[in-house]
Subunit: 191 residues, 2 copies
Amino acid sequence: MTRPRYDLELLLDVAIEEFTKRGYDGTSIEHLSTATGLSKSSLYHHVEGKEHILRLGLERAVTPLLDLLDEQEAREGRAIDRLTYVLRRQIAILADQLAAVTLLLRVRGNTETERWALEQRRTFDTFIADLVRAGVADGDLRDDLDPAVVARLLSGTVNSLTEWYRPGHGSLSPETIADTMLSSSLTGLRA
Amino acid sequence: MTRPRYDLELLLDVAIEEFTKRGYDGTSIEHLSTATGLSKSSLYHHVEGKEHILRLGLERAVTPLLDLLDEQEAREGRAIDRLTYVLRRQIAILADQLAAVTLLLRVRGNTETERWALEQRRTFDTFIADLVRAGVADGDLRDDLDPAVVARLLSGTVNSLTEWYRPGHGSLSPETIADTMLSSSLTGLRA
DNA sequence: GTCTATAAATTGATAGAC
DNA sequence: GTCTATCAATTTATAGAC
């Protein structure tokens, strides 16, 4: 048995990094060729085209995020508990698929694939906003703040982790970062 | 008196938007030509080259942010009060120069100008981190959370506003958003 | 201050040999 | 599955007329 998938995954590792560094439009097939060590023709043997590479890279982030939502469909319990659980899982996915999630957050909607990615993001963000509203309705979250703004701030804070979080090197674990984020968000920073 | 500066400012309005939408590398002079209605040659009459346009656009965001830091140099008072003041002002600058700040946050360091911009961002972020540490030392901020992480989360939350805040249209004012952000961060979301 | 014309290099993609 | 060679279109930038 050969390993064509393995080679594809390696190509995606490189492509996601390049797309993130230079932007999708700013990254040429030639860049990917240089970075992988494969000729341009060989790349076209593995994928249908440039946009196909983007799609496969984005799916690494989108799939686990949507799986998390699906898994939540039948969940019960207080909204505030489900919210904290989903945010923790979102942070875990971000840490596990850091490069792909970073790429997902950088996509702007200039191609069909990018617009698809933005739609998936919107689905996820809407879910978070619904949980915040439900948490306020339950009386567990403050009702003097705009729930829509609160939800966006929470999502923004989580997503901003891609700007600085790097795994390994005795760095903080994703769980510790999630603890800090949720503790400061829910209980506040004041001593 | 002619108005060469005015034409340059108009060009920058367009260029900042295009650079933000497609990325700096992904935006061609031809794009800018189409978007401004000027020929490519005419653009080169106004600026030295593509990277010069980026530099001028980024300065719209960098200059007021560094001015804010300069103004803080001689400030007195408790760190927590200075921190909330600086964050409020940062949000005001973000709202006032939304397009340029968005571009600043999207720059990745592929050119000399981009690396300069990243350096200015780092200067600002370091200032925030110092204020958080001082706030903990004063006993005004919780000492059970990593101040470096807290500072990054605060900066990330502020910067995430570029992802959704849009002025006008009876939308929330920057001041209201700052109120919500600071209240939730300092006092917490729990009811 | 604007334009057309053009330069040399790079773009996404394909043909076809091995 | 890899390569070299090549395509038509696009890239940043310049020359020089008006």
